[in-house]
C-alpha cells in the first residue's frame, strides 16, 4: 500500500508545479460561479423555492459544483490516453504494481491538491459574494469526506475507461468527449438532478454520474440525512466498486491486445 501512497504524494507534488495554471483556473471557476448565480437569483425571485431548493441552497449548489469540477475531474484528463498514445505506457506496465492502482493513486493525489487549492478557494469566494449555506451538523463533514472520496473514485473509473479507448483508437479524446458531455449533464453539474422532470429523475439519480457531483453536493447541503444519507453513500460505494471492477476488467482486456505505438 505504501507504494500507492507515495505515488499519490508525487501526483500532488506534481500539481504544485503548475501554480499559475491553477490560479487561472480558479479565476475561471469564480467567473462562472458568478455568471451562473445571476440567473438563479432571477429565477428564485420570480418563483420562490424550486424542488426543495431555496435561493441560498441553489447558490450553495452552484458554488459547490464549480468547486468540484477539478476535484472529480468532471471534464476529463487524458494523461492515461496520452501515455498509451506515446508509448510511455510500457514503463508503467512493466512495473510490479497494479496499472489501475497506479492511476487511481495518482488521481487521489491530484484530487486532494484540487480540493485544497481549487475547491476551497472557490467555495470561499462564493461565501464572500453571496453567503452560502454551511452544514448545521458536525457529522456532515465526515459524510462529505466519504462522499468526496467515493465521488473521486467514480469520476476516475469513468474517465479511466474512456482513456483506455486509446488502446483501440488513436483518438480517445473524440470518443471520450462524448462521454464527458453525458457525465456533465447527468452528474447534476448543469442543473440539480432534483430539477429534472419526474419521469426522468429516478433514472438519472440511479446512474453512477449522480455520485460524481450531485451526491457530494446533496451531502454538503444536508438534503440527505440519516438513512437517506447512508443510502446515498451506499449507492456511491456500489457504483465506485462496480466501475473500478469494470475498469480493471478493461485493463486486462486492453493489455492482452495492447499495441504499443511507435514500435
Amino acid at each position: 500500500m505504501r507504494v500507492y501512497l507515495e505515488i499519490g504524494k508525487r501526483a500532488f507534488q506534481r500539481e504544485l508545479v503548475y501554480r499559475t495554471k491553477n490560479l487561472a483556473g480558479l479565476f475561471t471557476n469564480a467567473c462562472f460561479g458568478y455568471l451562473r448565480a445571476v440567473p438563479l437569483l432571477a429565477a428564485f425571485e420570480a418563483r420562490g423555492d424550486i424542488a426543495g431548493y431555496n435561493l441560498q441552497d441553489a447558490l450553495t449548489w452552484n458554488w459547490t459544483v464549480q468547486a468540484l469540477i477539478m476535484v472529480v475531474g468532471l471534464w476529463g484528463g487524458w494523461e492515461v490516453a496520452d501515455t498509451i498514445r506515446s508509448g510511455d505506457v510500457v514503463s508503467d506496465l512493466s512495473k510490479p504494481f497494479s496499472f489501475l492502482g497506479f492511476w487511481l493513486a495518482r488521481d487521489y493525489g491530484r484530487a486532494i491538491y484540487y480540493l485544497l487549492f481549487r475547491a476551497l478557494p472557490v467555495v470561499l469566494i462564493g461565501q464572500l459574494l453571496f453567503g452560502l449555506r454551511w452544514p448545521h451538523h458536525a457529522i456532515t463533514w465526515a459524510a462529505l469526506a466519504v462522499s468526496l472520496a467515493l465521488a473521486v473514485s467514480i469520476g476516475f473509473a469513468f474517465r479511466f475507461m474512456l482513456n483506455l479507448a486509446a488502446f483501440w483508437t488513436t483518438d480517445a479524446r473524440g470518443v471520450g468527449g462524448l462521454g464527458l458531455i453525458a457525465s456533465t449533464f447527468l452528474s447534476g453539474f448543469l442543473i440539480p438532478l432534483a430539477f429534472f422532470p419526474d419521469w426522468l429523475r429516478p433514472v438519472v439519480q440511479a446512474l453512477p454520474f449522480a455520485g460524481i457531483v450531485q451526491t457530494p453536493a446533496d451531502v454538503f447541503l444536508e438534503r440527505v440525512t440519516g438513512w437517506a444519507l447512508m443510502g446515498a453513500l451506499g449507492q456511491q460505494a456500489l457504483w465506485a466498486a462496480l466501475l473500478l471492477g469494470a475498469a480493471q476488467g478493461l485493463v486486462v482486456i486492453a493489455t492482452r491486445r495492447v499495441v504499443v505505438q511507435g514500435g
Partner: protein, 367 residues
C-alpha cells in the same frame, strides 16, 4: 539449449530442479510469434467512411518464430532494421505484450502470467521513452522506486550512492526531469532501472540520439554493471559500436526472424571476407589513366593518387596482393581496411545471410 521442456511456458517447467528466479537461463524464447492486425486506411473522406463499415485488415507478423536462449551474466546485442521485431520481442520479454504463439520464459517464469513477479527481477530502459516523472526532480522518481520494488532501505541507499557516483547524477538529482538533457535523462533512466538490483536489464536503444561523450559514458557504465554486478543485459541498438564495444554475442533480427545468433568475431570472420587495400601511388596518380589493374582485386574508389582495391580472402591473401600491386606500380603508402561490422550487418539486412556468405550455412549458429 538448457530449457527445452515442452510445457506451456508458465510456472516452473518440469524437469528443471529449481524453477523461478533461482535457476535456469536468464531468458528462454522458443518459436515466439507476434502478429498484429493492421487496418487499412483508405485515402480521402469517402475512404474514411468506407473504412468504418468495411474494415479490411491484414495480419502483420512482427515476430515470426524467434528462438534464443540467454544465459545469466551474458551481454547480448540485438540489431536489425526498423520494424524488424526487436522492440516487440523485448516487450514480450517484459510481459507487456502477449505472444501470438511460442514460449517465453524469464528466469524460468512466464512474464505474461507472472508479470508482477517477473517485473521485480528485471529492469527496462526504453531509449525513446522515460519512466521518470517529467515535472518532478529526478530524485523523486528514484525515491519512488524504493516503494515500487520494496527495496530495503540499506540496499536502496547503497545502490543510489553507487549510481550517483558511476553516472555522476549529483549535478542534476534535484532538477526537474523535463529540464534534463537527453544524456542526463538517460543516465537517470538507467539508475531507475537498476535500483532494485534486477538480474536482467533490457535496453531498447539506450544510446539513441546521444552524443559521442554521452554514448561512451553509458557504454562504460553498462560494461561495469555487467561485469561487476553480473547483470544479464539484452540491448537493441542501431549503433553497431554499442555491440562492438559491449557484446560478445550478436543477434540479428529482420522481418521477425533471427538471421544470426552467435559471436561477433565469428560473423566478422565468416562474412567479412572482403577487405580493402588502400594504396597511395608514388607518382602523380592523376597521370595514371583508369583504374589499377591487379589480379583478384578490383578498384572500387579513386581519389587522385589514392586508390581503394577490394579483394576477398578466398581469392588471394593480403601479402600476395600487396606484392602484385607493388610490382606494377610504385607505392608511397598502403593500409588494409578490415570489414566494418556495420557494413557486414548492412549487407545481411539487404541481401540476407546466404548471399553474403559463400559457404552460407544459415542457421548453423542459431541455437
Amino acid at each position: 539449449m538448457t530449457a527445452g521442456t515442452p510445457d506451456a511456458g508458465h510456472g516452473g517447467p518440469l524437469g528443471r530442479p529449481a524453477p523461478g528466479p533461482a535457476g535456469g537461463p536468464a531468458v528462454y524464447v522458443q518459436d515466439l510469434c507476434k502478429s498484429f492486425r493492421v487496418f487499412r486506411h483508405r485515402p480521402g473522406a469517402l475512404g474514411a467512411v468506407r473504412s468504418l463499415v468495411d474494415r479490411s485488415s491484414h495480419e502483420v507478423r512482427a515476430v515470426d518464430g524467434v528462438s534464443f536462449t540467454i544465459q545469466r551474466g551474458e551481454m547480448v546485442g540485438c540489431v536489425g532494421p526498423n520494424g524488424a521485431g526487436k522492440s516487440t520481442t523485448i516487450k514480450m520479454l517484459t510481459g507487456i505484450l502477449h505472444p501470438s504463439a511460442g514460449r517465453v520464459e524469464v528466469l524460468g517464469l512466464s512474464p505474461q502470467r507472472r508479470r508482477k513477479e517477473v517485473a521485480r527481477h528485471i529492469g527496462v530502459v526504453f531509449g525513446q521513452r522515460t519512466q521518470l516523472w517529467w515535472d518532478l526532480p529526478l530524485i523523486e522518481s528514484l525515491d519512488l522506486l524504493r516503494y515500487v520494488y520494496r527495496v530495503p532501505e540499506a540496499t536502496f541507499e547503497r545502490n543510489l550512492a553507487t549510481f550517483r557516483q558511476l553516472l555522476d547524477l549529483d549535478l542534476f538529482l534535484s532538477t526537474p526531469v523535463r529540464q534534463l538533457s537527453l544524456g542526463q535523462r538517460m543516465r537517470g533512466d538507467l539508475a531507475a532501472a537498476l535500483l532494485h538490483d534486477p538480474e536482467i536489464l533490457y535496453l531498447d536503444e539506450p544510446t539513441i540520439g546521444l552524443d559521442v561523450v554521452a554514448k561512451h559514458r553509458i557504454r562504460d557504465f553498462l560494461r561495469r554493471i555487467n561485469r561487476e554486478r553480473g547483470v544479464t543485459v539484452l540491448l537493441t541498438t542501431h549503433d553497431m559500436a554499442d555491440v562492438e564495444q559491449l557484446c560478445s554475442r550478436l543477434l540479428i533480427i529482420d522481418q521477425g526472424k533471427v538471421l544470426y545468433d552467435g559471436g561477433l568475431a565469428e560473423i566478422r570472420d565468416r562474412l567479412g571476407r572482403e577487405r580493402t587495400l588502400v594504396v597511395d601511388l608514388a607518382e602523380d596518380g592523376g597521370a595514371l589513366e583508369g583504374p589499377l589493374s591487379v589480379p583478384h582485386a578490383c578498384e572500387v574508389r579513386a581519389d587522385g593518387p589514392r586508390r581503394w582495391l577490394r579483394f576477398s580472402r578466398d581469392d588471394t591473401t593480403a601479402a600476395d596482393l600487396i606484392t602484385a600491386v607493388a610490382s606494377r606500380y610504385r607505392l608511397r603508402d598502403l593500409t588494409i581496411e578490415e570489414p566494418e561490422i556495420e557494413a557486414i550487418v548492412r549487407r545481411i539486412y539487404e541481401a540476407g545471410l546466404d548471399s553474403s556468405s559463400p559457404a552460407g550455412s544459415q542457421g548453423s549458429t542459431i541455437e
